[in-house]
Symmetry: C2
Subunit: 415 residues, 2 copies
């Protein structure tokens, strides 16, 4: 049997035990993981050094090396995140629905663990701890498949988890790490329907697209964000410029940052030049349509490709539109159903935009940057789902649960 098969089976078996552990037992295990992480700091840094060394030798970019890098502060941050997770309400066992039938049957729909969660992700080793502890909090086993560039770090982290679990009431097999990080193991994971209940990719667009294309295991799609702000005719200058600048420049590398700004032609006529100057003052590179370029110097030509691009950096494309319907159409055509905002004082336009734009989060007069599990108050975030089944938008612990009907009778049969 291959490593994927052996570890998938072990996780599946652990998942059967996990349905019978209590919240207290889960929290105790999490506490042990946090403690062991802090105690194993030295081993973790040594393992991480190997990854960094290998990365430098194979020419990995400084940006990626920074993502791989562990230090005392980052290890402490992992432990602190676990302490916060312990305090969160355990969703498992909650009764979602109760039905009493005339024949005396009592039907309870309750929250239960999903079972085994597959997680496939890129450089950051903190995802290893994050994914494992979120899964355990919700009573799930997990099969982790990180990248080869963080292999030694991930192995050291999972060793710490196993030591902690050994001292807990949870099965050590609840957390599995694939050590073979070749393409072949990823492909095997994509088709491991026998043991995996869901596969969650965390990483860049290419990873996510590959998983969706190749996986027969159900996938929760996360991440890609080609987001927009639309400034309507009636938008107030001060509010519009603040939101547009915040949505682009406050943290350009993340998914809820905007990539395209849509502006009503009349508003553009009045304020366009000034707004573009403000972006340029912040070193934002601007691609614009003909109208934008006609009015402003130093704006590059926006091509069809620009409207579909998630720049993830200090670049923006700007398009002038004649009405709110055109803005909605543009967003539904080019957007990735993540976060979309309209700035307007016209409530009818706002309602039409919010209803008609097909996205996980739609905003009236606020920055798209708020689409985030912590900002929403969930206390944890598995990712931001941009699909429509199971979970949409920021996913808290509930996204890692399923439901089950518990039915109690006294001998009822069907007529």
């Amino acid at each position: 049997m291959s490593e994927v098969h052996v570890k998938g089976l072990a996780a599946k078996q652990a998942s059967y035990a996990l349905v019978n552990v209590t919240t207290e037992e889960k929290n105790q295990a999490l506490k042990l993981i946090a403690d062991h992480l802090l105690a194993a700091q030295q081993e973790l840094l040594t393992a991480n050094e190997k990854d960094l060394q290998n990365g430098k030798e194979s020419g990995i970019s400084p940006a990626i090396l920074d993502r791989i890098m562990l230090n005392e502060e980052r290890i402490q941050a992992m432990a602190q995140a676990i302490e916060l997770l312990i305090k969160l309400k355990d969703p498992i066992g909650e009764t979602i629905e109760k039905i009493e039938k005339e024949n005396g049957l009592r039907i309870y729909k309750k929250r239960v663990p999903i079972g085994v969660i597959g997680m496939i992700y890129e450089a950051r080793p903190n995802v290893t701890i994050d994914a494992a502890t979120l899964a355990l909090k919700t009573g799930n086993a997990v099969v982790l498949r990180g990248s080869s560039s963080a292999k030694h770090s991930n192995m050291a982290l999972v060793k710490v988890i196993h030591q902690a679990l050994k001292n807990s009431r949870l099965p050590e097999d609840s957390v599995q790490l694939l050590e073979d990080t070749s393409r072949e193991t990823a492909k095997e994971l994509f088709r491991l329907n026998e043991y995996l209940d869901v596969l969650i990719p965390r990483g860049g667009k290419q990873l996510i697209e590959t998983v969706i294309r190749e996986s027969t295991v159900p996938v929760i799609e996360t991440g890609a964000g080609n987001c927009h702000v639309y400034i309507d005719e009636s938008a107030e200058w001060e509010m519009a410029k603040n939101i547009a600048l915040n949505a682009k420049t406050q943290r350009p590398s993340v998914c809820n940052t905007i990539e395209t700004l849509l502006i009503h032609e009349k508003w553009f006529e009045e304020y366009g030049k000034e707004l573009i100057q403000l972006f340029q003052d912040k070193n934002v590179e601007i691609y614009g349509d003909e109208i934008v370029r006609g009015k402003c110097p130093n704006v590059l030509i926006a091509t069809e490709e620009d409207w579909a691009t998630e720049y993830l950096g200090l670049t923006i494309s700007i398009k002038v539109v004649s009405n709110v319907e055109k803005a909605i159409h543009h967003i539904n055509y080019y957007g990735t159903q993540h976060s979309e905002s309209i700035i307007t004082h016209n409530d009818q336009h706002a309602a039409l935009f919010l209803n008609s734009v097909d996205a996980a989060a739609v905003y009236h007069n606020a920055s798209t940057r708020f689409t985030d599990g912590f900002e929403f108050g969930y206390g944890a975030e598995i990712g931001i789902s941009t699909q429509k089944l199971h979970a949409r938008g920021p996913m808290g612990l509930e996204a890692l649960t399923s439901s089950k009907f518990f039915i109690y009778g006294e001998g009822q049969i069907r007529n």
Copy 2:
């Protein structure tokens, strides 16, 4: 562009209009469909006759021909089902969650349509009406792909739907039927991620497995039911025999019927022979393990394959186990996560069984035959999900909805 592409795009565009229709407008459209169905009875029967004639010529079995067959009564039943659907509460627009942030942001998580639903199904033409009307009630567009054996009936039914929609406020394009029922169009549908938000297969095991294996569009898995009753040591004879017989024989061809009976060894010692006689009196063919065969004549040898088989007929396999844990293990190994029941007076055993058995519906002292959207009081059933994401167990209208965050601010930006 291919038929699949053209119709997928048309459905997508219709879905953008459907988010802005009211409950009243949807119900009016449904009423028109019901009326038009009754008025078009003669055309429908003529079209159906063509399918029946073609079916006879190509040697389709009488059982399948019966599924394809329409008559006055069946057409009336379709219209009546629509009248009931009209009365059901519209789930769209419901606020599921409300979050108020310190910064004044108001976040509403609301139920919205999924968008475009793909439905792939076998012989029964009533699924055409069923799928289309459930989709419309929940504000979704639908792309239907029925079987070639019911092609003329399906085309006639969709013609009726289009005539009704033409007189309604809903776009006529909301319902699309693929007229080319070749394998190629099915394959195109499996990969139509650009336009489809979900694909729901309704039919036999092979169809469902093909869709899961080949589809990159998210799938809701329905249907396969290798269900069990476990009779524990303390089970009362009268209750146990009634439930076991009901779960097998009340309607053997459906998914919530049991295929294997597990019996505690002590109970079997006392009542096994008598129970098996009762099954045989009802013409149930029995496959048993060595213990069963040692005690009872006319029992065939159960092979490994039997434990995994959904007979969907008057056949059962019976296995004797030494305790509840063995029963749980057998079910988790061979079952299809549909419906599972324990008959016992031991509450600890019941709790262990209900928690540990991994299935959509778990029963204590009742027949598995109750797993059904109508029995649960949902008033409609899209199918019974045997997967764990999005929806599990009987699916009512809510299973055809997604959610969306509506966020209202007064210029909030993120710090």
